[in-house]
């Protein structure tokens, strides 16, 4: 443990001790330091110091709730409390209806000015504030009482149905858009601030009351997860309506998956993730989430505000009639099979099972070596892509090898499904080779005379075309052979010959690898130093590794899973 993390740990322990003390519990030091006995003495010393400084802590307990406010609102019970204040349920004796009254912690009179502005904000899906009253020096915000539950309660029961999630978030996005047009930014969009009434209608609450939740605003894991990168980074000039859209994107992600976009366990790692890491698409966790919805969600979560939707555009995207309700693989969509009942369930299950498996929690992902922006394959791991084998297709990569293996083939991209060969690109000895699926036998390898140089970045490509298979080395045509048979049944793998046949591993570096639809190269060409993400690209990988996955940088969300050999 370095000094900084040791200090952090001690500060955490002391905070825990203080919180318990505020609750009336004097937590014994031994219990407090049960998991870190090496810190015991220092913690004890500091606890003693804090006890001796207790005279400074005059932060009083919450005052009791008033029974009646301004002689009109009869307080019934506490609905909730948080960092900004308490909310009570009260009965308005004049209009004879129930209202929710917010009692801000803050004695700051200036908030009243802001509250008056908020009271002018009116929308069907925003909890209205219709009175601001002062009683005995305390001021109160009187608003509609929404009899229902919060979105946080709903999510706690598991992911929402796709239709329900998209419809709900679209409605909230519309409400946000209205508020944004009026010059408001919420700044604290999160599931507890979205209330759902008995009819399932969502309401955005706490508008503008959370006056400043940005900057370094939170060490609270539950809050930081919803903050936009610009809020976390304190980039005030960038904070605006699209900061709310980021937060709403996190909420959408959570609705779809029951999880936050980043699986982290400390505020520090949460901040780092929000600032620097890409999210896995929601479909990683919920196979029912289609690509269109992945795209919408990840679009909301763009690091830069300019990359995100407006509230209106988000609502439109979610409600778009052109979206695909449930994306089936093309063979299923075009097979003409009439799906019904158990048959449909079986096929859909099959399809879902075809998605990349989630990382097995018990098995830690293999350690990947990244050197000079390239993945170093040492034979201990491979990358299983979610791209089902197909043809015509083009497989290509930028590679560097240090030696030749005269005994075993080394496959760079493979799709071998034993006992049949697959569409694969590899090296045997010093020569570039392709495997293909012959129509009349199980074995088919196309050898070339093209020698893969040592210690040089080299572009290698195999085009599995309609009528032939072609190999290219650094853009030069190496050899042509028979066409492959377009068979699915397995997935493309990078780093060995096949998913179910993890042998003949590639040893060397891969700077980038791309799988494209159709025949990308017909004649000789100059290879691009970095692959463009054009419409033919199905998946493209570089060295971007995240939580056991190699990210697809093409935008098609075909992230690869790292597997031990």
């Amino acid at each position: 443990m370095n000094d900084a993390s040791r200090d952090d740990r001690i500060a955490d322990l002391l905070l825990r001790w203080e919180v318990e003390r505020e609750r009336g519990n004097d937590l014994p030091i031994d219990q407090l330091c049960a998991e870190c006995p090496e810190l015991r003495d220092e913690v004890e010393q500091k606890v003693e110091a804090l006890k001796r400084m207790a005279w400074m802590s005059g932060d009083a307990e919450e005052p009791p709730l008033p029974e009646v406010i301004v002689g009109r609102y009869k307080v019934e019970r506490l609905l909730g409390q948080g960092g900004h204040g308490r909310v009570v349920l009260a009965f308005d004796t004049e209009l004879e209806r129930r209202v929710a009254i917010k009692i801000p912690h803050s004695p700051l009179a200036p908030l009243r000015v802001e509250a008056r502005r908020i009271a002018k904000l009116r929308h069907d899906n925003i909890v209205a504030v219709h009175d601001i009253v002062e009683d005995d020096g305390q001021w109160f915000l009187v608003g509609d009482f929404i009899d229902g539950q919060s979105l946080a309660d709903l999510i706690a029961a598991g992911p929402l149905e796709i239709e329900k999630a998209t419809s709900l978030i679209a409605t909230v996005a519309e409400a946000l858009h209205h508020a944004h047009e009026q010059g408001f930014i919420h700044r604290d969009i999160k599931p507890p601030n979205i209330l759902i009434d008995a009819n399932g209608k969502p309401f955005l609450t706490d508008f503008g009351i959370a006056v400043s939740t940005d900057e370094e605003s939170s060490d609270n894991l539950g809050t930081v997860a919803y903050m936009s990168p610009e809020q976390i980074a304190g980039e005030k000039q960038l904070i605006g309506p699209r900061s709310d859209i980021y937060s709403l994107g996190v909420v959408l992600y959570e609705c779809l998956t029951g999880k936050l976009p980043y699986q982290v366990d400390t505020p520090l790692t949460a901040r780092e993730s929000v600032l620097f890491r890409h999210q896995l698409p929601p479909s990683t966790w919920n196979g029912q989430v289609g690509k269109w919805l992945n795209r919408i969600c990840l679009h909301c979560l763009s690091k830069h505000p300019e990359g995100r939707y407006s509230g209106k555009a988000l609502a439109e995207a979610l409600r778009s009639p052109e979206r695909e309700p449930f994306e089936l693989p093309s063979w299923l969509k075009t097979s003409g099979v009439f799906l019904c009942g158990a048959m449909a369930t079986l096929l859909v299950s099959f399809f879902l099972n075809f998605e990349p498996e989630l990382p097995v929690e018990a098995e830690k992902p293999p350690t990947v070596i990244v050197e000079n922006d390239a993945l170093v394959f040492d034979g201990s791991y491979r990358i299983v892509t979610p791209v089902e084998r197909f043809a015509p297709c083009t497989l290509e990569a930028w590679i560097m090898i240090e030696d030749y293996d005269n005994e075993h083939p080394r496959f760079i991209i493979g799709s071998d499904l034993a006992p049949r060969f697959g569409n694969s690109l590899g090296i045997i000895g010093a020569g570039l080779v392709a495997e293909y699926i012959p129509t009349d036998s199980q074995q088919g390898i196309i050898f070339s005379d093209a020698t893969v140089p040592l210690n040089e970045w080299t572009h290698v490509a195999a085009v599995f075309g309609e009528t032939e298979t072609r190999l290219y080395l650094d853009g030069k045509h190496a050899v042509s052979g028979p066409a492959t048979k377009p068979l699915g049944g397995t997935r493309f793998v990078i780093g060995c010959v096949g998913d179910t046949n993890p042998i003949d591993s590639f040893i060397g570096k891969v700077r980038s690898a791309r799988i494209s639809e159709g025949e990308r190269y017909f004649t000789e060409f100059t290879p691009d130093e970095s692959f463009e993400n054009d419409t033919a690209t199905l998946a493209s990988y570089s060295h971007d590794v995240h939580e056991g996955r190699v990210l697809d940088i093409s935008g098609n969300e075909q992230h690869g899973i790292l597997r031990r050999k």
């Binding site: 006890k51 207790a54 009083a60 960092g83 801000p104 912690h105 700051l108 000015v113 605003s217 904070i239």
Partner: protein
């Protein structure tokens, strides 16, 4: 835009909302009274004087003037300034009641009777010298810790409200509040509290 709005509200506030402004200033003066009496409380006779003599009255007047002239740009700036003023006045009070010619020089304290009789002895200052050291030490705290002490202790805000003003989370505020007290303890522990 909320930032602009907030700022504008504050500018409006500083120019127009007299009632609101008076309310905040009155709250700040109350805090000065509370803290001054806390500080002087261990000197019963001095406290009696202070309630009537010109020393505290002068402080209150000075504080009122200082705040009345302020054109704050944010709640954070305003409350930080108010706390600084309070602290200055308290240091001034401490100096005037301490030293060879100090008003409280020949008067006895309550011999620490007000100190809670617990196993752990509080390090609440019991001498004017200790109070002065305390206020000066607050001045020397890292800026982020000092701001928290100013709002929570000098301005008497609740922690959630102080977190709001500073635009930080409650957890961050608690951490800073804790770190500040540990630093202040290091200053105060050197004073001998047993023989006051």
């Amino acid at each position: 835009m909320p930032h602009t709005t907030e700022l504008q509200n504050w500018l409006d506030l500083s120019n127009a909302e007299g009632e609101l402004r008076a309310e905040i200033i009155e709250h700040t003066l109350d805090r000065l009274r509370v803290l001054a009496s806390k500080m002087l409380g261990r000197f019963p006779r001095v406290r009696r004087w202070a309630e009537t003599d010109d020393v505290l009255q002068d402080s209150i007047i000075r504080l009122h003037r200082a705040l009345a002239e302020v054109r704050p740009e944010s709640p954070r700036q305003f409350y930080g300034l108010a706390a600084t003023q309070i602290r200055r006045e308290l240091i001034d009070l401490a100096r005037k009641h301490d030293g060879p010619e100090g008003i409280g020089k020949n008067h006895h304290t309550d011999d620490g009777k007000a100190v809670r009789q617990t196993a752990t002895k509080s390090v609440e200052p019991e001498s004017m010298e200790a109070w002065e050291a305390f206020h000066n030490q607050v001045d020397s705290l890292p800026a982020d810790q000092r701001e928290v002490v100013e709002l929570v202790w000098y301005d008497g805000m609740k922690q959630p409200a102080a977190a709001d003003v500073l635009g930080i989370s409650l957890a961050t505020l608690k951490r800073r509040w804790q770190a500040a007290r540990l630093t202040l303890f290091e200053t105060l522990k050197d004073f001998d509290f047993t023989n006051e």
